[in-house]
């Protein structure tokens, strides 16, 4: 049991992200209402952000903003001269996933904005946000 719990906890974020992502994916494919699809899209994208941010976590590490009080690291990385002692990379969170996710958040917001605009336009044209009703109306006036 303990082994299983360890296994579960060690990768807890990854399990959760998969479940969240699948909820989002299901909503995007199966939901009939366009706005619900978009809510699914948000969950889906946020799950990916959770995944990426989880990659960069280091246990007991600080945020990736250096204050000058970092734990120094004895080894040498480069041959050039340095004024400051090297920082122990274990004590600072990995900054790359954060940078990537800043970009992904922005992309997510932009996609959502465009999607909402398209959904509003669909509503203006067909007076409905339910996919089956819209498709029925499209079938009725097929030659537009």
């Amino acid at each position: 049991m303990d082994v299983f719990l360890d296994f579960l906890i060690a990768k807890f974020n990854y399990w959760i992200y998969v479940i969240l992502m699948m909820i989002g994916l299901f909503a995007m494919i199966a939901k009939n209402n366009l706005i619900k699809k978009l809510v699914g899209m948000c969950i889906f994208q946020t799950a990916i952000i959770l995944f990426y941010v989880s990659i960069g976590v280091k246990e007991d590490a600080r945020i990736p903003i250096l204050t000058g009080h970092e734990v120094p690291h004895g080894g040498h990385y480069h041959t050039e001269d340095h004024e400051r002692p090297y920082i122990d990379a274990k004590t600072v969170t990995n900054p790359i996933p954060h940078v990537l996710m800043l970009t992904a958040i922005v992309v997510g917001v932009s996609t959502l904005g465009v999607a909402l605009a398209i959904a509003q336009k669909v509503h203006l044209h067909y007076d409905s946000l339910e996919e089956d009703e819209i498709l029925a109306k499209v079938q009725l006036g097929n030659n537009d």
Partner: protein
């Protein structure tokens, strides 16, 4: 100066878009010259880059000026870089050329189809071209995602700007496209978690050292492939494409039809060869049979759907679906001839689709009809347009000396060498279907003298019934050919490029082959 060519391909359209945003709303007459100017610079830079690649091999361009950093384990890149080889050079030239020619061609359409929104349209148009070129040129897996989203967001808007049916198609495209791009992003995440880098060359170097049967790397490949397949409309995942292209404004479909799917195929090939590596993808995984099997289904289904459509643009969109099957199958044949064929077909299919979309655009604007019957008797009324159409049709069928013949030749040879007989059969079957479709259209255009132009548009009921040899002696209506040269010239240039790509097939295939060798996919390997 020449070392700045790669970046100019991307930033020329970007600055064009900025210029229109700053000035174009007040002075609308500035829009078109800006678009043409920036795309011409981009096109020239693409050609310059390509020539430079031929001269000195792969060109790297380091953004932000950070050199690769040395560690005990070798060099690694800390910033984003460009990597242009002969293959991406060719694709870049095709992107910039199609963008430029289409901007000339669609000058009238943009004003008539999207009045009041001309500056918006051109800004999005330029950024779409920049995004597609950026995807081709970048050597950074995450940067590729950002550029996929740039081109996707601008194409959602460029589609939705059209008719009311286009808005719904755009919504579906958005949902599908977001799933595709997110899968790609997730795949990159899995690669990052295993390798700790985002530069494609570095990822490849790290992957080689990792155990080959790691499930997360296989899942990363699956996720990336599915994501790209959605974006390129590979058969079971093609649902978004036909409506999105058929209902969008003319300028949008003539730009997206030739480019978006093809660039995605290039990206897939790039992922296979330079990110995962040919050895891993072909020798270790043994997925060739499955994916070539899928492509066979895609080719057959796409061709049959195309045969069953009576709407011109719908028919073309299903032909795109079939052609995507050609290229995916060719790329997965696991030999260099098939890969050469797939890459060669990226070029030739881009130009074929481009020519066909332009011809169809001209015909729809002039006759006002979207059905196949619009072709009746057109050869006499629009001889120039129909010349371009005939070349493109012969190329689609695959007759020499057009490029369609040579790409099919390489693909079929690759299929035979790999022993994929179903794939070879599907190619021949699809050529047969294309022959049926296009000879029917050519026959209609040449021999069905048809009625006078005025009758056809006033009498809508007659659209569906046409009888052989009716009114062969009717006076040809000269007014129909009054298509502006801004439309005809790009169409003819694209048609001429079909012949040129066909005639120069040996050097082109030679360049592609040389580039493939540096990617460890040697001749006969």
């Amino acid at each position: 100066m020449t070392e700045q060519f790669p970046i100019l391909i991307i930033i020329a359209p970007l600055f064009g878009a900025i210029l229109i945003a700053l000035l174009g709303f007040r002075h609308q007459s500035l829009c078109l010259p800006t678009v043409l100017g920036s795309l011409a610079i981009s096109c020239a830079a693409a050609v310059g880059t390509f020539l430079k690649v031929l001269e000195q091999g792969t060109v790297l361009y380091n953004l932000s000026g950070w050199e690769r950093v040395t560690t005990p384990r070798g060099l690694f890149s800390v910033s984003i870089e460009y990597r242009v080889d002969a293959i991406s050079g060719l694709v870049l030239v095709a992107i910039a050329a199609v963008g430029l020619l289409n901007a000339i061609y669609s000058k009238v359409h943009v004003v008539t189809e999207t009045p009041n929104k001309v500056p918006h349209y051109y800004i999005l148009y330029l950024l779409l071209v920049a995004g597609l070129a950026g995807m081709t040129i970048t050597n950074d897996a995450f940067n590729l995602y950002v550029l996929i989203e740039i081109s996707s967001l601008s194409s959602y808007a460029l589609i939705a700007i059209g008719s009311r049916r286009a808005v719904l198609a755009s919504f579906n495209y958005l949902i599908m496209g977001t799933i595709g791009a997110s899968f790609y992003l997730l795949g990159v995440g899995y690669l990052y978690i295993k390798t700790g880098t985002l530069n494609m060359t570095d990822i490849h170097a790290a992957l080689v050292t990792l155990p080959k049967d790691s499930p997360s790397i296989q899942v990363a490949l699956i996720l990336i492939l599915i994501g790209l397949w959605i974006k390129m409309a590979f058969f079971p995942l093609h649902g978004w494409l036909p409506n999105a292209y058929a209902y969008s404004p003319t300028a949008t479909s003539t730009l997206m039809g030739p480019l978006v799917t093809k660039v995605m195929i290039y990206v897939m090939i790039r992922m296979m060869l330079s990110l995962f590596g040919a050895e891993y993808v072909f020798d270790h995984l043994q997925w060739t049979n499955i994916i070539v099997g899928l492509s066979v289904i895609a080719i057959v289904a796409g061709s049959l759907f195309a045969l069953s459509r009576s709407d011109l643009r719908k028919m073309l969109t299903y032909l795109i679906v079939a052609e995507v099957g050609y290229m995916v199958g060719g790329a997965w044949l696991a030999n260099s001839i098939g890969m050469t064929g797939a890459i060669y077909h990226i070029l030739s299919d881009a130009m074929m689709t481009f020519t066909l979309f332009m011809v169809v655009g001209i015909i729809i604007t002039r006759t006002g009809k979207t059905e196949l019957t619009a072709f009746q008797g057109l050869f006499r009324k629009m001889p120039i347009t129909m010349t371009g159409f005939t070349i493109a049709a012969l190329s689609m069928i695959g007759l020499p000396p057009t490029c369609g013949f040579f790409s099919k030749y390489y693909l079929v040879r690759g299929g035979i060498e790999a022993g994929q007989w179903a794939y070879v059969g599907a190619l021949l079957f699809s050529s047969l279907i294309n022959a049926v479709i296009f000879f029917r259209l050519i026959e209609m255009a040449y021999f069905h003298g048809g009625k006078a132009y005025g009758e056809e548009i006033t009498d809508k009921d007659h659209e569906h019934h046409h009888s052989r040899g009716r009114d062969l002696d009717a006076q040809p209506d000269e007014t129909l050919e009054q298509v502006p040269w801004s439309m005809l010239a790009p169409m003819l240039m694209a048609a001429a490029s079909l012949l040129a790509i066909g005639i120069f097939n040996r050097p082109i295939a030679g360049w592609i082959n040389a580039a493939l060798e540096t990617l460890n996919l040697a001749q006969g390997g």
